[in-house]
């Protein structure tokens, strides 16, 4: 089978240059994260910054590497809003974690 006839019809996608740019962007964001850890940034600032950077990195991977940016909107709407909602629901219990140290009986 010739290479041409085997080529499949696929939805519009980014080119090699775009993928390389995304990869470089991801490496830069990782570099920033490691720099923050190296500088011993205060915990709260560090947590917010790291979570923010991680969400950006995840969005880049899902959009470009996993091709979701080029899929139908219906696929995105079926999969992700509810998944993210369920993940956020888990945080409801986090308040208990702050109360646990005060509830331990003294040794």
């Amino acid at each position: 089978m010739s290479a041409h006839s085997e080529a499949v019809e696929h939805s519009p996608s980014a080119g090699v240059m775009t993928f390389t740019k995304v990869w470089i962007g991801l490496l830069c964001l990782t570099g920033i994260e490691v720099f923050l850890a190296y500088m011993q940034t205060p915990v709260l600032i560090m947590l917010v910054a790291l979570l923010g950077l991680s969400v950006i990195k995840a969005a880049l991977i899902i959009a470009y590497f996993m091709h979701l940016k080029f899929e139908r909107l219906s696929l995105f709407l079926t999969l992700w809003p509810f998944t993210v909602f369920c993940i956020i629901l888990m945080l409801i219990f986090l308040g208990d974690a702050f109360r646990v140290p005060g509830m331990r009986p003294p040794l």
Binding site: A7, H10, T83
Partner: protein, 211 residues
Amino acid sequence: MSSHVTAAAPSLWEGGRSPYATNSKKFGMWLFIASDSLTFSALLFAYTFSRVANPNWPRPFHFSPSIIFSTIMTFCLLSSSLTMVMAVHSMNHGDRKKAAGWIFGTMAGGLGFVVLHLSEWMNLINNEHVSPSSNPWGVPLFGGTFFGLTGLHMAHVTIGLIYLAIIAQGILRGKFKAEDVEVSGLYWHFVDLVWMFIFPLVYLMSVSTGA
């Protein structure tokens, strides 16, 4: 009698056509990824909960070698994602040999990740005396949550390596189609995606403040 059969064309949702314009394998993998995201989120949440509930949570990762090692591991996974994208790109253009080459490159990145991760585990087990049930810092939950979370991720990477090996040998024999490579790519990128949260939350947030 005039015909009113020439009504509107059937909508996408009336069957016979895919409302997502995607094949069933890819949609199935997306559903798996959504459910597995919840599994990893629950484990990350358990780790965070335990950490917040224990003010004396250990910070055992020295910048050198632990953080340097885990940064190189991150580089391996990110680079393997790029090579996987290239494999899908080559397969979409009908170049099977090139696609297989890119998949082998992806596997090399994944293998590098697993080897470095195991050496990091060995360092914690042998030098810091951490096990899933005990550690010198008196917070047993640290070992349980750390090994549980990173172990499940490493299991996913290992399964991914086996999956990619099957796909690579298959496309060299002319067996699989471009969509099969794309589906395996989705799985591999998801493994990378999960690490983008484990690396900062587990490693970078626990850098040793000591000298």
